[in-house]
Symmetry: C2
Subunit: 345 residues, 2 copies
């Protein structure tokens, strides 16, 4: 079969690899019908070194179950399924409380050495816990929106949920990537009154307005902070959703957040240490929360809104390619020529 | 009048200073009847440099109103009052929502150049907003417990409230100072089921057990983290209350907290940057919260428990001195010979 591998920063190739197959009784083998490239795939695309060998890429996919291990009970051959970006057993205490990213048997697709979603097929561990059956056909017009349940919609939603967005909230979203835009949509869905989107790419911020942003701030740094203050009576917003992961976004977040407010991060931090002392978080009683989104936890809640058309998160996809086009897709997303690339293997 | 001044690290003196007096219509002049030395006073006692001149000390006191400005409406001469460690106007949006430490006209006693609680008298700005009348006499046996409403009880309680402690919670408290011990009492009051106190000073941890600690861990660092894990089925506690403020306590906190849990800090951070990335907070979806406690917000809630004897936070005072004994009191607390020193000017 064919699959996407990254060898080092900037070097993505589609190659023939050994066919994925059932290995454990809890596995399912899924033939991928739709996958995509993630903003977080761009982090290794910038920084990966060659020394540890290549990595299989892709953690978002929809596909058709082709085979199941003997212990799989909820899925059968022919089912169309969506996979969250984290593998989870569905039964441990963390899975039961909706924190599947901390599943005691869990892992991330990005750490699987021989599997990935940007491929023709994937072996899915703990299939009963990980996969969710979709009530549509593989060629449904809803596929792009349903594919966002893998990661970007659930991640934006996690940001908003952890940030405590509720009816009447004032919210700033930092980042106009797919996650940032879907954080806007999520904040709107949870009833936010004011949603300030910080981004400078107009096609994206226009989509952000369509998703519910009430204001757009294209300035960054101190200038951006001042602009948000101007929009909020000098106080900043109670909630800041940080959907980037770089230090300038973090610094912007604590500059913008209102005293007593919450910064919710879902951009994978490209730093380990950051300001948290009296001058940044502590003095203002600011809460810092967030983490890798347990998107599995949100699928049942969000899917009906997609099926009935009340949200259309699939609008974040602005181009479609086949597997051969994946390396060019990385380049286009890296150069911000495309927002998010849909892949149909 | 006489007051306490710190000149630099280790140099505390009681000196004659100009009498405090009403300056603004919203002021009250309070004759101090009980004050104390705070664990946070030990931070400048370790690090203060002489270059910016001396500082007036003391941010916790009870006293008798001696005079009021023309705009003060809720207090009159002769009232016994308690002062929180933050000055607040009582009317701004932050005060109304219970975040008086972010009051738009507010400040901390520690930043007042010519006032402090370790003195014979204090000019209190925004007296109507700041002070709370006490329904007892100045020689009541309840004074030590009521004095903890200024800071250490409210601060321990803020830690527990922000940490989201609720019936059945598992909690670790880091630090066996007065705030840590009263964080134990607060966690107990909010219904925590397991309260692990990390501290190595037996007289203090014994008081912690009396306040509700179910377990005491005297080990620190990795050994302490392992001990807490052993007590919690390997997972850590859902809530960690950090009542120290030094980096090793922070590191211990993220080592101990259960995935999805909350670290609530009330020890004034003696650092600005700290780990918050994938390996510390983000990967485990850990929430970091806390800050300077708006103790004013908790006085009405906690005072009845003191008046009816159901809590006795004043037990944290293990010695009493007059003003002349204040420098020796700093030394005794610094050397951990005393837990907390009550001062009767």
């Amino acid at each position: 079969m064919r699959a996407t591998l990254m060898y080092e920063a900037g070097d993505v190739r589609v190659e023939t690899v050994p066919d994925s197959r059932i290995e454990e009784p809890t596995d399912a083998l899924v033939r991928v019908t739709a996958a995509c490239i993630c903003g977080s795939d761009l982090h290794p695309y910038h920084s990966m070194t060659a020394e540890n060998g290549s990595a299989r890429m892709g953690h978002e996919f929809i596909g058709i179950v082709e085979d199941t291990g003997t212990a799989v009970t909820t899925l059968k051959k022919g089912d169309l399924v969506v996979a969250p970006f984290a593998i989870s057993d569905g039964t441990c205490e963390y899975c039961r409380e909706g924190l599947q990213t901390s599943c005691v048997h869990g892992s991330f697709w990005d750490t699987q050495p021989r599997e990935g979603g940007q491929a023709e097929a994937v072996r899915v561990p703990f299939a009963d816990g990980t996969l969710v059956k979709l009530p549509v056909d593989a060629d449904s017009a809803l596929i792009p929106s349903l594919l966002t349940l893998s990661d970007v919609l659930g991640t934006g939603y996690h940001a908003a949920v952890r940030g405590g967005v509720k009816p009447g909230s004032t919210v700033t979203v930092i980042g106009d990537g797919a996650v940032g835009l879907l954080a806007v949509l999520s904040a709107k869905r949870l009833g936010a009154e004011q949603i300030i989107l910080m981004g400078r790419h107009q096609a994206r911020t226009d989509l952000g307005r369509e998703f519910g942003a009430t204001d757009v701030v294209s300035e960054r740094g101190d200038e951006g902070i001042q602009k948000v203050r101007d929009l909020t009576g000098g106080q900043g917003t109670r909630v800041v959703l940080e959907a980037v992961g770089h230090m300038p976004a973090y610094e912007q977040a604590y500059g913008i957040v209102r005293p007593g407010g919450t910064i919710s991060r879902v951009g994978v931090p490209q730093y380990e240490a950051a300001p948290v002392g009296f001058g940044s978080l502590f003095g203002k009683n600011v809460t810092l929360t967030g983490g890798p989104a347990p998107t599995r936890a949100y699928i049942e809640e969000l899917m009906p809104d997609i099926l009935n058309g009340s949200i259309e998160p699939g609008k974040v996809f602005d181009t479609t390619t086949d597997l051969d086009g994946v390396p060019a897709g990385y380049k286009a997303m890296d150069e911000r020529r495309n927002l998010k690339v849909l892949v149909t293997p």
